[in-house]
Symmetry: C2
Subunit: 323 residues, 2 copies
Amino acid sequence: MREDEILKNLYKFFKPNERIIVGPGDDCAVLSEMVNKNLIITTDAFIENIHFKGDLLSFYEIGYKSANAVLSDIAAMGGKPLAIVISLNVNQKAINRIEEIYKGISEVCDKFCVSIIGGNIEKYDRLELHITAIGEVKREGYILRSNAKPGDIIAITGDLGRARGYFIAYERNLISGVKWWVNDMREKFSKPNARIEEMNKILNNIKVNACIDISDGLGIDGYRMAISSEVQIIIYANKIPIRDSVKYLAKKLEIKEWFIAVESGEEYELLLSIPREEAEKIEKLNLPLTIIGEVIEDKPGIYIVDGDLKVDISKRGYDAFAI
Amino acid sequence: MREDEILKNLYKFFKPNERIIVGPGDDCAVLSEMVNKNLIITTDAFIENIHFKGDLLSFYEIGYKSANAVLSDIAAMGGKPLAIVISLNVNQKAINRIEEIYKGISEVCDKFCVSIIGGNIEKYDRLELHITAIGEVKREGYILRSNAKPGDIIAITGDLGRARGYFIAYERNLISGVKWWVNDMREKFSKPNARIEEMNKILNNIKVNACIDISDGLGIDGYRMAISSEVQIIIYANKIPIRDSVKYLAKKLEIKEWFIAVESGEEYELLLSIPREEAEKIEKLNLPLTIIGEVIEDKPGIYIVDGDLKVDISKRGYDAFAI
């Protein structure tokens, strides 16, 4: 089979919309101009044995998870995603399963009205997806990670810990058999959801000073917000939304629940820094959004407060280059 | 070292310009709106031992070549490049040479006023660059590959054959020592140049019906133009611009010069289909642009005419998935 035939076979996953003038198949895709909007762009990589293991995720789930991961960056910026391009490396095992990967990606794209406008495929010894997403924000509507202010409250969407919890359970050989707590963790691990719609609702109702998505862990990502904003972030351990499944695992392992929650990457929840006066509006939003901490004027960093303990969590999470 | 520190160290290669509102360092980069323009997007991969060998190119050259390769797609569309994002995988050998790679990319970006607005880095066992480029075209100004018309003439920028010629010389152990013909071929192989400026001048002066860039070879890329346009393309062997270095190699190997020229990928020359009535304007452009063939109404495909021979060249070139 020729590369062109493989790519052409994937065009069925391209859904045209009014913004796409030229879809996949030419040297570039063409998108129509935007009025009163700014363009936002992000790129991310998903590599076998680094970001996922083939025996833990189906090809469909690899596509589904990867697409949500990259769109999560668009959500964190306060944007609306428009289109993605995919640079795919496939190994012998994946070469006949490309459509399953694309089905996973495509399901996510359809949900958010995103078009797959281009791609590149190479034969390689490992499965890799490098996805670039293009979105738009209202002219002054983008939310930076670097604008958290002393006095803000810190909130998080959804819950934390299940993505990491599932991987821990896998590493400790605890996942076999039907177990409610394993299934609950696997749901988040295999099918996370970018908080595009939630962020849209938040921004339509309350002022947000800063935002970042949790892809490497509350510790590392919160630290990124803290140092770029030159503030100190305090998280209250007992406020973090942690589900029973993660609590169950923590008990089993005899560790604190928040150990799992703060180092859990691939959650794709949004960490928000919000002016304190907006706090009471949060409950009225009817969203899974929880106040978990606050921003203070002190040495930049991120700490968790657990009773009398105050612990630096700036290195808790996933760092590709950590020694 | 932390991933964030590695990335931050690369921000020096980011050159701000009026269109870039937020550069690298946040979840997304932000570009300002465009008036009367359309946006064009393309993605491409450059993988060690597939697209390049570490012993044939320096890290600087790998960056330089990769950047030109992706910007060549912008040129082929008739566009002006604005920005790129880079998803980089580095192995142990490359981890301390990332700056050299970025220096090569950056030199190309500076030349075309392109900003490096974002990136991602992973530690991996092989060096890989996945680059996505964003550009703009005038509202109706984009040039498709699929619009070649019977009666058009076919033209090519620059010369063909040196990129492949150098690789053949390498495979046959001919490259050692100082040889004028090896050096001439290596120049194109290691530092190809995207024809952004040339295409701009062409479009300001003559009508172009279709365009594609030569990344996989005149055979394969010309075939792409032919089948998407539903026309037959005829190339005249004696018209192809081939430099003395390639002629010398062909003679040495006792093969026809055009064998090398038509299968030479990574040339990043532009193949143009131009209305015949524009032909006489081409010379006045004072550009390296040569008429090498024509478009006829016949079974879609691409053929080369060499004296009495008419040879199908649709499979000549590089196909990642060819068996």
